[in-house]
């Protein structure tokens, strides 16, 4: 039998003739595996593909695009509804989108996609290249972050780093005495825009060499809330957000058939124009000169990492090995602000002009997967991860608490680091074709380096078992259960005492913890009915058995059920249901000794939804989706100060209907209606006006609540072929 013959392959193309033969043999192997009940090998006769001219293949050539234009109307303003959607204001919106492709027979292709150009959540993406030679992409993504639209402030200069009180401001010891407050309030929404730009490229440099580069810039512009205190009084402020993060990832990779090596760089630079926030004190200054305060906002910083990786496939026992190593350095050296801006307080010179912050990161990883037997699959990995904080430590001798009160004791800034090692192993054995069992384990060591913490090192042990049963394509289930123990290597009571902690306390992230957990995932479909279900359940029970003061327990239970129903060829429906319940208990001591109170927190969250998509006629299709999400959070205090807090509630009802009608072969009418109602009750927020709390000047934000209707109508016009069809 003649083997495949083909025209000479161009030198610059990646595929060599041998790859096709490799494909042929692998297909033969696939045929072997798929042949029912046969244990003997079968060999595929290699076809002469030179005769396969594909005359019927409707390869995409030329240009096609879809342009959508129209308008939408939102009947209520809401920051919560507009968060990430850009639909935060009531009124009209322009809806404009387009997508298209230009494809040349030489293989050059450009795709573009413009989405929601009339909204603050607009996107642009252009991709293209010559497949197999290079790819490129440019993108722009605007993500509006709308936080509050029910807030009001007395401060001027919002959006800048200087917040000032009006000239006629009357300060007082509590908000009740601020007689100019009401007249000074100005509505001010809080939120920012995140604009994301990027470019990416992938280049095949000949043979097996691949170069990947990915650049992205995030710019944020707007405001966020920030609290600023003077002693025991505080103000809700609006701080500026004006920063950018540049990221670059570049990788060179050599890919052979059975191995690869790769070297790369990953860098990130954060730059802010809002390095500080200064604000006037609206309360009567507790000490002379305490009329204003200043805090440092997040400083410029950068991180650069070099990494290498290699891997081998097809090793003995059908094994794969991958190793990687990385070393990185982060730095931060922004000039310090002064200890205080209170002109009445004298301070020592700062021990340094900046932190000279430096963090070194080192990482090694080895992963091995193996299939030594047809029915046995094993995985193992060893990972080492280190963060060394090499920042300058110095003694700060003139710390001033909230620009009012000099702190008498000198403080040395802490530097925290860690070394972590993780060993992981698992094995899965197919007892039968339908049934497999698995075992796995994990061992972790964490050493906390740098400034001493209460737990210097801890060890985590985790073991689990798993059963997977899939007798046919209609049913499959995976059940997994395990136990995990986090065991600290002693709790240093001397460090705890030096930190002023109650020595009965065991910090939640360091305390001894025993966790039992289980998980089930199942899917099933009726053989003769177009109905399928997916089910998942998860349970985890954390016990902090050695804790007297601190978190005692945490239980997380969640389950979810999805149903999909292909009613007929033209109608599909689905329904979903989910619930998660998290209960936790925390003990405390108001007498700095043994516990005398306990807080029980219960979070319950339920969701359900349903939808249907129907092609009602050749021209008309509808898509209707409904979602409901209900959350309740209860806190009960027992012991000292006992009582039940009001329930924190959230309720979301969302209904969306989309209709598409083909006006002609090239034009569709699209109609959309969204109804969304959201209610919430939050005792920490509800009913708190700017002057409700005597010691906090608030912004008066209300718990989120909205009832919004969105109606939109667009026309979609199709240029070029709407569908591919076989040649005449």
């Amino acid at each position: 039998m003649n083997a495949a013959r083909r025209p000479p392959v161009e030198a610059k193309n990646l595929v060599k003739p041998m790859e096709t033969r490799s494909i042929l043999v692998k297909l033969a192997v696939a045929s072997i595996l798929s042949a029912a009940g046969t244990a003997s090998a079968q060999q595929a006769a290699a076809p002469d593909t030179s005769e396969w001219t594909c005359t019927k293949c409707p390869f995409e050539r030329g240009y096609r695009s879809t342009v959508e234009a129209g308008g939408a109307y939102v009947d209520e303003s809401s920051a919560k509804f507009g968060n990430a959607t850009g639909l935060d204001e009531d009124g009209g919106y322009v809806i404009a989108s387009a997508e298209g492709r230009a494809a040349h027979e030489s293989g050059y292709v450009i795709d573009y996609e413009l989405t929601d150009l009339g909204l603050d959540s607009r996107e642009l993406r252009i991709e293209g290249g010559k497949q197999g030679s290079y790819d490129f992409a440019f993108f722009y993504d605007a993500i509006p972050r709308r936080i509050w639209d029910t807030t009001a402030t007395v401060f001027g200069g919002v959006g800048s780093s200087n917040l000032t009180l009006p000239a006629n401001w009357v300060d007082a010891g509590s908000t009740g005495g601020m007689t100019a407050l009401d007249a000074s309030l100005r509505d001010k929404d809080v939120g920012f825009d995140r604009d994301r730009y990027g470019a990416a490229g992938r280049f095949w440099l000949g043979g097996n060499l691949l170069f990947d580069v990915d650049y992205r810039r995030d710019e944020r512009d707007g405001t966020r809330t920030q609290l600023g205190s003077f002693g025991s009084v505080s103000s809700e402020l609006i701080k500026p957000v004006d920063d950018a993060t540049d990221r670059l990832d570049a990788t060179v990779r050599y890919q052979a058939a059975k191995w690869f090596v790769e070297a790369g760089y990953s860098g990130s630079i954060y730059d802010t124009k809002a390095a500080y926030l200064r604000w006037d004190n609206p309360f009567t200054a507790m000490v002379p000169g305490g009329d204003a305060g200043q805090m440092a906002l997040a400083p410029d910083n950068d991180y650069h990492e070099f990494n290498v990786a290699a891997g081998w496939l097809g090793l003995p026992g059908n094994s794969t090995i991958a190793v990687s190593a990385a070393t990185g350095k982060g730095s931060q050296d922004i000039g310090f602000l002064p200890y205080t801006i209170n002109p009445q307080l004298a301070t020592d010179a700062l021990p340094a002009s900046n932190l000279d912050g430096e963090v070194s990161v080192t990482r090694f990883d080895l992963t091995v997967t193996s299939r030594p037997l047809d029915r046995l699959r094993m995985r193992g990995s060893a990972t080492y991860d280190e963060r060394d904080n090499d920042s300058r430590q110095a003694v700060y001798t003139s710390i001033v608490h909230t620009d009012l009160f000099p702190v008498t004791d000198d403080r040395t800034n802490p530097v925290y680091g860690f070394e972590r090692m993780r060993l992981f192993g698992s094995a899965d054995y197919a007892v039968y074709d339908e049934l497999s069992v698995g075992l796995g384990g994990e061992y972790r060591e964490t050493d906390r380096t740098g400034t001493r913490q209460e737990v210097r090192s801890e060890t985590l042990y985790d073991g689990w078992g798993k059963v997977q049963y899939r007798p046919n394509g209609n049913f499959g289930i995976v059940i997994k259960g395990g136990a995990e123990e986090r065991d600290p290597d002693g709790y240093d009571l001397a460090v705890a005492a030096a930190n002023g902690q109650n020595t009965w306390m065991r910090k939640y992230n360091m305390a001894y913890r025993y966790r039992g957990y289980g998980e089930v995932m199942a899917d099933f479909a009726f053989p003769d009915l177009p109905l399928s279900f997916s089910l998942s359940g998860f349970y985890a029970d954390d016990s902090y058995n050695q804790t007297v003061v601190g978190v005692l327990s945490g239980i997380d239970r969640r389950y979810a059920l999805d149903m999909a129903w292909a009613v007929n060829e033209k109608i599909n429906a689905y329904a979903t249901f989910g619930e998660e319940r998290i209960d936790s208990k925390t003990r405390g001591s108001s007498v700095f000794g043994t516990p005398d109170w306990r807080a029980d927190v219960n979070d319950d969250f339920q969701t359900y939804g349903a939808g249907v998509r129907a092609q009602l006629s050749e021209k008309l299709s509808v898509d209707v989706n409904y979602t409901n999400a209900d959350g309740d959070s209860d806190t009960r205090l027992l012991g000292v100060g006992a009582g039940d807090f009001p329930t924190v509630e959230s309720r979301l009802d969302s209904l969306r209907a989309d209709l598409s009608y083909a006006l002609s072969e090239r034009m569709d009418l699209g109609l959309t209606w969204i109804y969304e109602k959201y209610d919430s009750e939050d005792w920490a927020l509800g009913g708190i006006e700017p002057d409700t709390l005597p010691t906090i000047l608030a912004l008066g934000a209300d718990p989120y609540e909205y009832e919004v209707n969105y109606v939109g109508a667009t026309l979609r016009y199709y240029f070029g072929p709407r569908k591919l069809a076989l040649p005449e």
Partner: protein
């Protein structure tokens, strides 16, 4: 350093040396030798020669045969995709390639005349309701894609759970839903049903609004990082978008640099800031200093109840004063108030 640590680090070092040991050996020749002559390919030894059984054959004309029956919109959609690009010699429709049979396997028997009463032999189909085992389906994809994914797929949990490529990917769609930000999550929710609910919580990343995809944080094709994160650690993944939290800061808050998930639930939470719990209880799970940090803050401290504790309960609770909870770079910020 304790003995257990010495032992564990020694094991790690030995494990690191393993690849070098393996490299010292000649790798076992693959079952399919890469012949350079066409005749050698025909004679290439595959698995052991059969004693019996018919040879599997390919179609007579490739796609022109298949398209004779399969000319529906779904089938033709492959020509919108990279798989249907004839100018790329690597793609199934590249020059001399096997076209439909590159993925669906030899279709010679499938395309022959079928006797009355007999069932037409199938080709490999992809997806949940395929008769072909996941290993076969994925084997077809990995024939071409294994090089680019190298070892990562095999080290990931999706491979271990025998998830088929077609569970997520649709090669016969003009737009593969899992590759688009606004539709990706719905594909993931097919199996990760609980996450659909979590992203509906009051405070969550904007996945529901289509502004973030699962792959912005996770690498579904496999990685050695925990939870299949795009970066080696959770914190480094978070810093991709939240670089202002990276520091280092003059006054660090110890758990922040160690693990963001000590306090936050990135898939969604009932508390602002995606916090697992709200203050003061959250803060009191680690802080117990004498005085206000350890007081029992009960409902008598709520606004309107007149209790003195209202400033530690309402609004930002502990953060009403300790607002620089991620760390402070201010010389007087030792208590995270500046």
């Amino acid at each position: 350093m304790s003995h257990s640590k010495t032992l564990s680090r020694g094991l790690l070092a030995l494990a690191m040396l393993l690849p070098l040991a393996l490299l010292a050996q000649e790798p076992v020749a693959p079952a399919a030798p890469e012949a350079t002559e066409p005749e050698a390919a025909a004679a290439a030894p595959g698995p052991a020669a059969p004693a019996a059984g018919p040879a599997v054959t390919f179609s007579k004309k490739g796609a022109d045969t298949c398209l004779g029956c399969h000319d529906d919109e779904v089938t033709l959609a492959v020509f919108h995709t990279k798989h249907g690009q004839p100018a790329d010699a690597r793609s199934p429709f590249g020059q001399g390639q096997l076209q439909c049979e590159a993925c669906h396997g030899p279709a010679g028997d499938h395309t022959k005349r079928v006797k009355k009463g007999e069932t037409r032999p199938p080709v490999i189909r992809f997806g949940r309701d395929s008769e072909a085992p996941v290993a076969v389906q994925n084997g077809m994809c990995l024939t071409c894609h294994e090089k680019s994914m190298a070892a990562s797929w095999h080290s990931g949990p999706h491979d271990a759970a025998q998830v088929s490529c077609a569970s997520c990917h649709d090669s016969h769609a003009r737009k593969d839903a899992v590759l688009a930000k606004r539709t990706q999550a719905d594909v993931c929710y097919t199996c990760h049903v609980a996450e659909r609910s979590q992203f509906l919580k009051p405070f969550a990343h904007p996945v529901r609004q289509g502004q973030l995809a699962c792959s912005d944080c996770h690498t579904p094709h496999g990685t050695t990082a925990e939870s299949q994160l795009i970066k080696a650690t959770l914190n480094q993944t978070c810093y991709e978008c939240h670089a202002e939290k990276r520091g280092p800061f003059l006054w660090e808050h110890a758990p922040v640099a160690e693990d963001c998930s000590s306090c936050h639930s990135p898939h969604g939470a009932s508390n602002p800031g995606m916090l697992k719990a709200r203050g003061p209880v959250l803060c009191q799970s680690c802080h117990s200093q004498q005085g206000h940090p350890s007081i029992a803050y009960g409902p008598s401290g709520l606004p309107g109840a007149g209790g003195p504790a209202v400033s530690s309960l309402a609004l930002g609770n502990c953060m009403n004063c300790h607002s620089q909870v991620h760390g402070s770079n201010h010389p007087s910020g030792a208590t995270l108030t500046r």
